[in-house]
Symmetry: C2
Subunit: 318 residues, 2 copies
């Protein structure tokens, strides 16, 4: 909805496709969604159920949960020569495929696939507060297409050609944010969260570089920026998930309580398998995954992370 | 006081030197300071006025404001063969000297000078919440001396040999935190702070590398960890300074309201001059300095930072 609103404020006509008739009626009635009262969609945004793709559109934005990306893209009766922008921050369970790879599997030529990431809490963007994001695509003109389509006076979009790095950063920071939330849930403070941000950035970067990403991506908005915002913001759903897990709730109960998708929950175990496959140590991700699978309590997992014997910082926690 | 308490909890006898007789009486009476109710100093911490240095001590910890470091070190009637640990996070005004350089000016051999930095909000450490820090020294055994002296079950100390990097990271993050506070004071949110953290880390790293620091230091606890914690923590004095500046207060009035030292205020202009001298662009630091000097309003400065035309992220805001 926020992306539809940004596109519309740049003068684009938007077809907003939602999952159900109930949702369509709700969006039609309030011209937006209840949790984002600042977003008011005008008549230039037409709300549909399902995925009717007008062949005349300039591009398709996919803002569905990562685990629903394949089903959504497969069911799109759209020309594969239409550019797409994936806004989901996750890795597909089972296949360990990134969103751009899922798009390729569904028939999109890789040079027409762009991904969006960055520190973008929706309610702040909806209020017009300054924010910035990164669009990555293998072709600069594709990245620039979405940069132009989404940039507003308060929402700044940077381009990147590191698709894998931007995607991995967005997906993995959700897992680290669960650890940050767990620390907060255990009564720890900003110092502990800072340690988790620092070591989390290190392990995200290690895995990214092993998968061919550019290390500098993790120093940018999609990397450290998004990670810090997510770990420190009480409004992040992934951090909230960690806080709930720290109360002793199971992953299932905590996710039910949050209601909306917390992408890190599905991404954690697939990140663990990616790490193993590429021989990269991911101590925080390992512990988050163990807690989500019910194999360790939050207290046990945190204790494992925080009690390794200190040494030179370059060696970190490992 | 927190450092004295950490040393004491490791069984060391501590001479705690304070500036005035009033302060000494106050610390004696409450066995600590009012703002850190969790710190209770036992009889193994003897409180002094002035700097009587017992020649039998193992080392000296300097936890004075950066701008008072030279006067403190010069007046110490201590053998220059005693190891010292500087805990101040700032750069000396006028000379642009780092704390380790000030120590050298005061007669200390550089291999006996260590510096301490990291995400270390004192009230959290005092409550025993997990935190980590970095001690840097040119000699590993000196860094390890302080690592051993300060590490506790909940306070983990890593060693580093990048003295300049650790010092610069600690000093410059205070300036960036003023910008983060100013953004918050203008009503901006976590997304904007994330942008400031990201671009702030980039400019700190640029200056650090120009001054001979190791780029990886800025990816560590003393770099990104301390920066993120300070920019996101409402309890950071430097962030509070930015928030007060955003209300239109002058730097003088805002500093008077905070009462304690906000190191970034003195460091900003000297960082600007370091940047000029080394040909490094520091857009955030420049704007913070201009606001502190009364040359720009917070709104003008923030607008300059946030309205540059977007381009590839690698080029950043510049």
């Amino acid at each position: 909805v926020t992306l539809a609103w940004l596109l519309r404020s740049n003068g684009h006509s938007v077809n907003l496709c939602v999952r159900s008739e109930t949702e369509r009626e709700s969006v039609q009635t309030v011209r937006g969604v209840a949790r984002l009262p600042d977003v008011e969609l005008d008549a230039g945004v037409v709300v549909h159920t399902g995925w009717p793709v007008d062949p005349g559109v300039d591009g398709i934005v996919l803002a569905v949960p990562a685990q629903a990306m394949r089903a959504t893209l497969s069911s799109l009766e759209a020309d594969r020569s239409l550019p797409i922008l994936c806004a989901a921050k996750g890795i597909e369970h089972g296949t360990a495929r990134l969103m751009s790879e899922v798009a390729a599997d569904c028939g999109w030529p890789s040079d027409l696939v762009a991904v969006l990431s960055g520190p973008n809490l929706a309610h702040e963007i909806a209020r017009g507060l300054p924010a910035a994001a990164v669009v990555a695509a293998s072709r600069l003109d594709e990245a620039q297409r979405w940069q132009k389509a989404l940039s507003t006076g308060s929402f700044r979009v940077y381009t990147s050609n590191d698709v894998v790095g931007v995607e991995l950063a967005g997906a993995l920071k959700n897992v680290i944010a669960i650890a940050a939330g767990a620390a907060v849930g255990l009564g720890m403070g900003a110092n502990t969260v800072a340690t988790i941000v620092t070591r989390g950035l290190a392990e995200i970067t290690r895995l990214g570089v092993a998968l061919g990403a550019d290390a500098s991506t993790f120093q940018g908005l999609a990397g450290v920026g998004d990670l810090a915002a997510t770990c420190y913001s009480p409004l992040s759903r992934n951090r909230q998930l960690g806080e709930l897990l720290a109360t002793g709730r199971t992953a299932e109960a905590a996710l039910a309580e949050i209601g909306e998708t917390a992408e890190g929950a599905a991404t954690a175990s697939v990140a663990v398998s990616l790490g193993r496959r590429h021989g990269v140590e991911l101590p925080i991700t390992d512990q988050v995954s163990a807690v989500l699978l019910g194999e360790a309590s939050v207290a046990e997992a945190m204790s494992k992370l925080l009690t390794r014997s200190p040494r030179s910082e370059a060696n970190g926690w490992d």
